[in-house]
Symmetry: C2
Subunit: 135 residues, 2 copies
Amino acid sequence: MRRDSSGLQVLSREECLRLLCTTPIGRIVFTDQALPAVQPVTFRLDGQSIVIRTSIGSRLAAATRRSVVAFEADEYDPERRTGWSVTAVGHSRAATDPAEIDRLAGLPLTAWAPNGLGHYIVVEAEQVSGRRITG
Amino acid sequence: MRRDSSGLQVLSREECLRLLCTTPIGRIVFTDQALPAVQPVTFRLDGQSIVIRTSIGSRLAAATRRSVVAFEADEYDPERRTGWSVTAVGHSRAATDPAEIDRLAGLPLTAWAPNGLGHYIVVEAEQVSGRRITG
């Protein structure tokens, strides 16, 4: 088992992708008007891609059109001080092809926000890294 | 009660700062070698500042020295689809003054990682925003 300089367990790409299938919420990290920005999103892993639903007019939709973003998901137990975190970095794009949108609409990806989430952002998980803290 | 374009409840600065006192874990968002980066951290709100412990040689310590970063904390209930998220954006700096380091060391800020966390990063919460999703 490999550990990083902080003593955290380093996770393999396979383990990272497996963990991304276990939680419905992640955070997308992008640049908005030259400032770092972060927003929680519901997501679904689709092969090696992270699929996010948002509304077409959102700040997120505008900022992630053809850019490089980071995506993070984690789970922690504050009592035991255990948990994991996975980060993916890669190119993001809007799904515009009707056939792809149809397919993405069939994913079990639930939107929590009440309004207008018919827009899909696809983030390619090009660099994936993860850590586990074992208490 | 104000709502944003997604239908989420918009939180006041006071409510955001109050919520930041209720969770031990947040995520710091920064730029690392020109790419977006994000890392979970334990933190403590200290007045209008977010205080983070890390190790002096870490990627995080290097990347957050005199830069503008974002910080995010949230809490969600996947069953009820409720929760909140708070984001702060502001200048970050390393604490270098011995008197300040002494004071920060007295905060009830627990490090979860096993190794070398004697370095403090202070993020000024200059812009604070938050949303609540009520299901």
